[in-house]
């Protein structure tokens, strides 16, 4: 309900602007009047107890809810200057600009190479040379190249969980999005793989705007510049990560930070 706008800092321009967003699962009001501004080239973390709506929220940012029958989204989400929920906007083109990494690694049952070039191919890129370039660049940027360069044409399902997740990130990088949404990308991974993903996110924000859902406050503190706190469908508070963790304005945020909610 409270809209703390990080755009007070003039050096940052806003990439995504969420205004009065509501999501319903049938009769259940899952996100209530959420407002949020996501600055460019910054990592914004969404935190909150499980079931608070943070995943529901992030899936509204690239219209993934369109794919699930029975979900209704109201309100506006503005990417640069365009409202992505405008009637004549093609969600397919939109998802090209806003990439998404999911909770569990979901590589396609194809070779590593085919996974990475899947996006460019479906967007009409045919030249083998550019596809190879894109594959190498994306895998390098996802810090996976050295581990897989000798087996690009083997099945992606043979990779470890952490490698699979970095492959999924490479797959998103390959379509060169402007925003990358991550829905608890490390929750299914071991600590070593997790720290690799976290390092990677630090690199990504130089080029991309990142929004990440995490259930771990430590992770949010380590990697994000801004943090938004969700509780029971309300976006309770948003601000610079250091402020949220040291001097939260809302009592509920404080309770959560100090461990009084599950």
């Amino acid at each position: 309900m409270i809209s703390a706008s990080p755009t007070e800092r003039t050096s940052q321009s806003s990439k995504l602007r969420v205004e009065d967003l509501n999501v319903y699962y049938g009769d259940f009001h899952a996100i209530k009047h959420a407002n949020l501004v996501v600055p460019e080239n910054i990592v914004t973390a969404l935190i909150g107890p499980s079931g608070c709506g943070k995943s529901t929220f992030i899936r509204a940012l690239n219209r993934m809810h369109d794919l699930t029958p029975g979900v209704r989204v109201e309100g506006t989400v503005v990417l640069d200057e365009t409202n992505i929920y405008e009637a004549d906007l093609d969600p397919v083109t939109l998802r090209h600009r806003i990439g998404m990494v999911f909770q569990r690694p979901n590589p396609f049952p194809k070779s590593i190479y085919e996974n990475v070039v899947y996006g460019p191919k479906i967007h009409g890129l045919r030249s083998r040379k550019s596809l190879l370039e894109i594959a190498e660049r994306s895998l390098r940027n996802a810090a996976l190249w050295d581990e897989v360069k000798d087996r690009l044409h083997q099945s992606a399902l043979g990779l470890s969980g952490g490698q699979q997740q970095r492959l999924c990130i490479a797959r998103v990088l390959a379509v060169e999005p402007e925003v990358i949404l991550m829905d608890e990308p490390a929750s299914a991974l071991d600590p070593i793989a997790t720290s690799k993903i976290e390092d990677l996110i630090g690199e990504l924000k130089k080029t991309y705007t990142v929004v990440i859902v995490t259930h771990s406050m430590q992770q949010a503190a380590r990697i994000s510049d801004y943090t938004a706190f969700f509780l029971l469908g309300d976006l309770v508070e948003v601000g610079k990560t250091s402020d949220i963790f040291t001097k939260p304005k809302d009592k509920r945020t404080e309770d959560y930070i100090t461990g009084r909610y599950g």
Partner: protein, 303 residues
């Protein structure tokens, strides 16, 4: 600003985006078209059979014995035989298939025996029914010297339909949540007590639906019966021939026989009427399976 930060970014050209959208819409239209075509096809079949057959239907046609050479024969004994063989088949099939299905689902552990049973069931399910008919011819007609008989036909159909009913049983049982079993076993019930008192009762709705649907298929089966139950009915006035060892031509066999071997001049009308009766009975089986299944599950879960 954005462009400067990402010099390499490629974006889908307008024409490619339009192409993709077009392909997507085209595919959607085609897929919907295919699905609707099925419904139209079925409606057309049913309508056409009704149109052909209705003029033939009369009380006489439904009850009179068939004629070999003259016009004006009925299908009374054939209707009786179809139901008679169906019931005999169910009497053999249901207990055997359910027992085997229960064993596979609730008792069997992976191993050579389970694999063998599964493989035999799958093979039986795939064997053409005419081949099954010849097996019945070898065993029941020749070897056991039963000649063409209702019981030989029913036993042949039993083997033919065992696998399908086993599958139905296994699926019905697997739809019962494991928590039910654990709850019962935790109270000290044996596995068999658990099956009889907890698992089977909750599997009744899907089992009923499955059995009726399979009954519909048994009713319409033909190829396996021509050389086991035969293509003739016992001479005599009564349509009801309870003789297990008498030849028992069913409706579907009669439809085939009038067309390919029959001599009667009104074969087309008799065929049209027979096809109509077959279709109506099969539709009734389908509807009752659906309605009864829904009613049972509402009664078992609701009350």
């Amino acid at each position: 600003m954005t462009a400067a930060a990402h010099p390499a970014r490629f974006r889908t050209s307008q024409s490619i985006a339009a192409q993709r959208r077009f392909a997507d819409r085209l595919a959607t239209v085609i897929l919907w078209g295919c699905a609707l075509a099925i419904v139209v096809l079925l409606a057309f079949f049913v309508g056409y059979i009704l149109y052909l057959g209705l003029p033939t239907i009369s009380w006489h046609f439904l009850t009179a014995p068939p004629s070999e050479v003259e016009a004006g024969g009925g299908i009374g004994p054939e209707i009786f035989n179809s139901f008679y063989i169906l019931i005999l088949t169910l009497i053999f099939t249901v207990p055997t298939a359910m027992a085997a299905g229960i064993f596979l689902q609730e008792y069997a552990r992976p191993g050579v025996f389970t694999t063998t049973v599964q493989f035999c069931a799958e093979s039986l399910a795939t064997i053409p029914s005419i081949v099954m008919g010849l097996f019945g011819l070898i065993v029941f007609v020749s070897l056991l010297r039963w000649h063409f008989s209702a019981i030989g036909g029913a036993l042949t159909l039993t083997i033919l339909n065992l696998p399908a009913l086993m599958r139905v049983t296994q699926e019905a049982l697997s739809s019962v949540p494991n928590a039910f079993r654990e709850g019962s076993m935790a109270l000290g019930a044996t596995r068999w007590q658990t099956i009889v008192r907890v698992v089977l009762p909750s599997a009744i709705p899907p089992l009923t639906t499955g059995v009726i649907l399979i009954a519909g298929r048994i009713f319409g089966e033909t190829a396996a019966l021509i050389y086991t139950a035969g293509v003739s009915v016992s001479p005599g006035k009564s349509a009801f021939d309870w003789g297990l060892f008498h030849p028992a031509e069913t409706l579907s066999v009669h439809l085939w026989y009038t067309h390919s071997e029959g001599l009667i001049p009104d074969g087309a009308q008799v065929g049209n009427g027979t096809a109509l009766v077959l279709l109506v009975v099969v539709l009734l089986f389908n509807f009752s399976a659906r309605i009864l299944g829904r009613w049972l599950s509402r009664r078992l879960t609701g009350a």
